[in-house]
């Protein structure tokens, strides 16, 4: 029997409440002190179409989803047909007994648990939509988990909808639970047991980003809805009055970034967010912020392109795009967090970089990180400190000439010029998207152009010197070194655990900043590694190409995936073994 090591999957038609039910299950496990990682898969439509949520649960911290499933809950027959091969030996399918399954089409080692979802619904007089709760309850009985925890999560989930909704949902889940307990022996191979009271958060990368932004004092958020960034807009909007934030759903992404620029110019910590397609529209504004040196944080949650691509799936295909988006050269810091903690602390940090260096900062994620829930320890909010950058001193303002504009773009050693914002007497200046002099006046002379370009670009050099990069993770004498960035962190860590059990020593260098790029660090790691491999979710190996461009080292071993799905640890594990076996 396998205790507290389980992958649970619920599938059915979009609009049947699949995700909500899955999150209730995730939260119920988290509240029982267990660790959870869930992933949802859904098409870009609202009703019909196939939806799943897969929840992995263990009694240790887990970092990613896995491929194999132990419990499959099928609200329709399609779910069985699509996912039966993911089941482990001894795994079970819980399905509606009105569906006729052909036993011959299923492996013999899969156990079947037919439950009359619809009849149960009718008997208790609940609405058809509550079928998923019956299924949830039955699955709780199957894995022998504590129903009371689930009932409490249902109550908290629906507390705003009133007692009737809470009671109906609880009753439906309990009816499913009782049916299974009564009609099947308690001999399923996989069981969950409460090991504590939790105390951890269950949240997505987008949630963590919002918390980081709010803690950092973000007061203005503008966005146009786009999967997988939309839940940032929802989070910020839901909390706008609680934290005094102005949240604007704009007419398009062009407006979103220009609004954030207007707010940053006025002195407010501003952020906008989108996915790749929206960032195409933001590109011109991105360059404006770089040119007029307005602090701004941009969240870009990637999904597969090109064009509309696969709107609700995942990819890391925009790395090279963001590094050269918008015309010309300007400092383009790009942060690429790999988990919820990094989403939180590095988003907060992005505001400091934006204000200290007076430039737009991109936080790059993808759908897998943005929308998957993971149990996460509460953040240490006390670790967040604010660096508002350099403002013009009262003395400098007093000394400034009232006949000219303030030298807002003053040439300095490190390229950073003391700021002023509207309202500051004697700090008056006019920002120009044209090339300009220290006062912002339009200038096209050779010397001034060269000096101003150097001033702006110097800021990136200064930032590069100040950034700290993570050390290599894992054994120093590893047979193979994995280099990666972003959401591949979780599956890589899981693959390393599995490889270690097989006696394979691997280590891992995570790149947190695509720009300024940790050139020396990466070059050193490649030079001292026995074998190097890059893992990334795109077709061409964009990170490997960036590494080659920046360090001159060509990593030819590239584990790539571009089917819209995230890496599973099993895939990385076997690909690494392949690399070791064949070069």
């Amino acid at each position: 029997m396998e205790k507290n090591r389980l992958t649970w999957k619920l599938g059915g038609k979009a609009g049947e409440g699949i995700m909500a039910t899955g999150i209730i299950f995730s939260q119920s496990c988290s509240r029982g002190g267990l660790h959870v990682f869930d992933i949802n898969e859904y098409p870009s439509l609202i009703k019909g179409g196939h939806n799943t949520i897969q929840v992995r649960v263990e009694d240790r911290e887990i970092f990613s989803q896995v491929k194999s499933v132990n419990v499959l809950i099928a609200l329709n027959k399609e779910t069985v047909l699509l996912h039966k091969d993911e089941l482990t030996s001894g795994g079970g399918i819980l399905y509606d007994s009105s569906e006729v399954l052909d036993r011959k089409e299923l492996r013999e080692d899969i156990r079947l648990y037919p439950v009359p979802f619809n009849n149960i619904i009718k008997e208790i007089g609940a609405q058809a939509i509550m079928k998923n709760n019956v299924a949830l309850g039955a699955s709780i009985a199957l894995i022998d988990y504590d129903f009371d925890v689930v009932a409490r999560v249902i109550r908290d989930t629906f507390k705003r909808k009133g007692d009737k909704i809470i009671n109906d949902n609880t009753l439906a889940a309990k009816a499913g639970y009782d049916y299974l307990k009564k009609n099947f022996p308690n001999d399923f191979n996989y069981k969950l047991e409460k090991i504590g009271t939790g105390g951890r958060m269950l949240l997505t990368g987008n949630d963590a980003i919002c918390m980081g932004a709010i803690k950092a004092g973000c007061k203005f958020y503008s966005a146009y809805p786009m999967t997988p960034a939309s839940s940032i807009l929802h989070f910020m909007a839901a909390n706008e009055r609680r934290f005094n934030i102005v949240v604007k759903h704009t007419e398009d992404e062009i407006s979103a970034i220009n609004m954030a620029i207007g707010s940053g110019f006025a002195g407010v910590r501003a952020m906008c967010g989108t996915s790749g397609g929206g960032f195409c529209l933001m590109s011109e504004g991105y360059g404006l912020a770089g040119m007029i040196e307005v602090p701004l944080v941009i969240i870009l949650a990637m999904r597969p392109g090109p064009s509309t691509g696969m709107p609700t799936w995942t990819e890391q295909g925009d790395l090279k795009f963001v590094l050269s988006a918008s015309q010309g050269d300007f400092p383009r810091p790009v942060i690429i967090p790999g988990d919820n903690e990094e989403c939180f602390y590095m988003t907060a940090g992005a505001f400091n970089i934006a204000e200290r260096y007076q430039t737009p900062v991109i936080v790059l994620t993808d759908k897998y990180l943005a929308e998957s829930h993971k149990t996460t320890e509460k953040f240490d909010a006390g670790r967040i400190t604010l660096d508002r950058g350099i403002y013009a001193s009262p003395e400098a303002l007093a000394a400034s000439d009232e006949k000219t504009f303030f030298k807002r773009y003053k040439f300095t050693e490190n390229g950073i010029s003391p700021r002023t914002i509207p309202g500051m007497k004697k700090g008056i200046y006019s920002a120009a998207s044209d090339e300009h002099d220290e006062e912002g006046n339009i200038r096209e002379e050779i010397e001034e152009r060269i000096q101003m370009m150097q001033k702006r670009m110097k800021k990136l050099d200064t930032l590069a010197r100040e950034l700290k990069h993570p050390d290599i993770f894992g054994a120093k004498d590893a047979e193979v070194t994995i280099i990666a960035a972003g959401s591949t962190k979780g599956p890589i860590k899981e693959a390393m655990i599995a490889l270690e059990k097989e006696g394979v020593k691997a280590n891992y260098l995570q790149i947190l900043y695509l720009s300024p790029f940790p050139i020396e660090k990466v070059a050193d790691v490649i030079d001292s590694a026995r074998k190097t491999v890059v893992v990334e979710n795109n077709f061409t190996g964009q990170l490997a190409d960036i590494i080659r461009e920046k360090t001159g080292r060509n990593v030819t071993r590239r584990i790539l995936k571009y089917d819209g799905r995230p890496f599973y640890p099993e895939e990385i594990q076997s690909a690494i073994k392949e690399v070791l076996a064949h070069g």
Partner: protein, 285 residues
């Protein structure tokens, strides 16, 4: 007291001699002086084109942004610090062409700001192509056989899109223009001032004389700007006689009025160094 001289800049305007933009800049400066708004509490946001240069030639805070986008920048500057007096300026190409989407949505929002459009019915800085307000049939570099489309009617569009102050003036009548801008700033809400601006280099049809022969002030005919239907009727007048002045105005709550977040103080003045997210984190446990 703010004086005209306080608004002067080291750089001097380099528009073509005789350009209507000089009249607009003069009237804008005159309005800032007349209203006595401190230059440090004034923000002028522009887009691209000849009009885009305005923030460089008047000593207030300014932001010369990108083509067609001054409205979102200006709107957010106002929402971030509503104690500022905020202007957006742009041309007909900037506002009614590439920036048309923002124009309509800015009016729906009714943020308290003033939008001045240098409407010369031609693309000047790119040396003479058709604009969204060029008259049908006008021959330009990009329409050598004449414009096929009908022109945009910014006044009618503004009345129907939710602007709460809709006016037109003429760069050749600085007194009228200054008075119009002053009233636009005094109005709480989104104000449009569409300005007939002769382009002496590329538009040889809509000249100073062309306008002078046609325009008349709505005030002189007893137009009631609070009558939306009458305003709409007046907005359709074009040809021998063209009205200028205030077409429409209405007192409605501004966007800022609807935001409790900024009731006590502007966003920019709110402390951010001690945001408590402990309860927010509890919500996720």
């Amino acid at each position: 007291m703010v004086r005209m001289i306080d608004l002067n800049t080291i750089d001097k305007p380099n528009w073509c001699p005789g350009c209507g933009d000089f009249g607009i800049l003069l009237a804008l400066k005159g309005a800032v002086v007349e209203l006595n708004i401190e230059p440090e509490n004034t923000v002028i946001v522009s887009g691209i084109g000849c009009s885009g240069k305005v923030p460089h030639w008047i000593r207030t805070y300014g932001l010369h942004g990108i083509h067609g986008r001054p409205l979102p920048v200006a709107a957010a500057a106002k929402l971030s610090n509503h104690e500022l007096t905020v202007f957006a300026v742009g041309g007909d190409g900037d506002g009614y062409g590439i920036g048309m989407c923002h124009f309509i949505h800015a009016m729906r929002r009714n943020i308290d700001m003033t939008y001045i459009v240098h409407n010369n019915m031609i693309y000047g800085l790119t040396t003479g192509q058709t604009s969204p307000t060029s008259e049908k049939g006008m021959r330009t570099k990009s329409t050598p056989s004449g414009v096929i489309e009908v022109p945009v009617n910014p006044i009618a569009l503004a009345i129907s899109s939710g602007a709460t102050f809709v006016a037109r003036s003429f760069a050749g009548d600085v007194k009228h223009l200054q008075k119009t801008i002053v009233n636009a700033v005094k109005h709480r809400g989104f104000s449009l001032v569409d300005v007939f601006q002769p382009c002496v280099s590329f538009n040889f049809i809509n000249t100073y004389d062309w306008y002078k022969q046609r325009i008349y002030d709505l005030e002189t005919v007893g137009h009631n700007p609070e009558d939306k239907m009458a305003a709409f009727v007046k907005s359709q007048e074009w040809g021998e006689k063209i009205p200028i002045g205030v077409f429409y105005k209405v007192a409605l709550p501004t966007y800022e009025d609807e935001l409790p977040q900024i009731k006590e103080m502007p966003l920019v003045k709110q402390a951010i160094d001690n945001v408590d997210i402990s309860k927010l984190m509890d919500d996720f446990v």
